[in-house]
């Protein structure tokens, strides 16, 4: 219960400080590159693979009903609505979460966080809020990369089987992707970004017991971020259904 309270307070402070200047733009930009841009290849490759697999499954199902022409649209809908955001979130919980937990944990046990404070710097704003801001910005962009790579992967798989052209595939894939389909499901990953950065920062900030504690913070960051992200996803999907009934 103490941990839940501590994490809630930590997240509340992060949320409050996100909207309170001054902002550490240089640090946010650096994290956008380190956490965001450097994750792009992972998301692109994973997206391609997910697209190929989804295409194979979609074909196997739709073929039974003679609805092969729906494969691009079905795959794109599945990716954009749910598979893309959740896969991106979980992949980034692994990559970014572990990184933040380990980095801040190491800074805690080597007194670098104290050294920041001793330099008259608000370590929370400098280390946590900047990472949270970068993750909130990066997650929707990375999810879009994964979605697009997934659709492209689907095309590669489909073109091998049916020889469908890229133009026709894309036309069919995007035929049913409208605003309520794309925007809410992509923007919900901003919440995933907040969860990953906050949970991992909290664990890193509270790391103790030397290198063992750093390792623990890193591992727990992945576990905690993933669990919170999956639970939050249930609530977010429900909220999207309420706010955008046409998505149902």
């Amino acid at each position: 219960m103490t941990s839940v309270g501590s994490l809630t307070l930590f997240a509340g402070r992060a949320l409050r400080d996100l909207f309170r200047p001054p902002y550490e733009f240089a640090e946010i930009t650096r994290h956008l590159f380190e956490l965001g841009a450097r994750s792009a290849p992972l998301l692109a490759v994973s997206g391609l693979a997910v697209g190929v697999v989804l295409s194979m499954h979609t074909r196997a199902t739709l073929e039974r009903f003679g609805a092969e022409t729906m494969i691009p649209a079905g795959l794109a809908m599945a990716l954009v609505r749910e598979t893309g955001p959740l896969t991106a979130g979980l992949l980034l919980a692994g990559r970014i979460g572990a990184g933040i937990g380990a980095e801040l944990g190491a800074m805690r046990v080597t007194e670098q966080i104290d050294a920041l404070e001793a330099s008259g710097v608000d370590s929370f704003r400098y280390l946590v809020v900047t990472r949270v801001a970068a993750c909130i910005i990066a997650l929707p962009l990375l999810t879009t990369i994964l979605n697009f790579a997934g659709i492209l992967g689907g095309y590669f798989a489909e073109s091998l089987v049916s020889g469908m052209s890229l133009q026709l595939y894309m036309q069919r894939a995007f035929a049913m992707i409208d605003f309520p389909t794309f925007v809410p499901s992509t923007l919900k990953t901003m919440v995933f970004g907040f969860i990953i950065a906050t949970a991992s920062s909290w664990l890193g900030f509270n790391a103790t017991q030397g290198t063992e504690g750093v390792g623990r913070a890193s591992t727990q960051s992945v576990v905690l971020s993933s669990i919170l992200l999956i639970v939050a996803n249930v609530l977010l999907v429900q909220a999207i259904f309420v706010m955008f009934p046409s998505v149902r």
Partner: protein
Amino acid sequence: MSETTPPAVAFDHVTTVLGGLVVLDDVSFAIQPGEAVCVLGKSGTGKSVTLKTIMGLMTPDAGRVFVEGEEVTDAPRHVLGEIRQRLGFLFQNSALFDSISVGENVAFPLRRHTDCSDAEIDEIVREKLAEVGLETDYDKMPADLSGGMRKRVGLARAMALDPSILLVDEPSAGLDPITAEEIDELLRELRDERGTTLVVVTHNIPSARKIGKRLMVLDQGKIVAEGTAESLDGSELPLVRAFMKSKGSG
């Protein structure tokens, strides 16, 4: 009405409890500007807690702490930030920011708290590094430095804003005797040539004798003895006498 200079650092009945253990027990003392005080004591007697409490990194459970007359205890963050700019802190393991170079470590406080141009900051950083004998190591990363070099970079960073008070945690810990002597010499120069107030935590008695004009011995959260090294040599307390006879290397 005459104005008197407030103490550089003052503890007023400070008590700190950590994990149910009383680390500082109703401790009071004052350190005058320009004074060099060494805080001695066995491990776990609250020496480092004393330094972190002065810096406002730890908040006592009772009592008040003052730096140059301004209360640190419960100070709002922006006030604490201003007070910290007048304090330098050399951490036991140097606590260099390991993702940036030596030069950027020393430049960090300057970039945060001054309006100096990049060229001016560069000049100050090179000057500070030269003072600790590392002028050629500007571009090295902290991971490429020896323990003694890291300590000297930590000292250069702590002195970057020319603070009036320098807090030093175990300056000779983990260093060979020659490097430890070099660090002691740098601290003595700060004391004698710049009049910097020094608060040095150590259990290295030879080092404390060289740096400290006044020594304070902490035991079980209380100051059990204080005075010059000579006066403590003749202390009636067995613990203090045993300490003063030791040749601890930190």
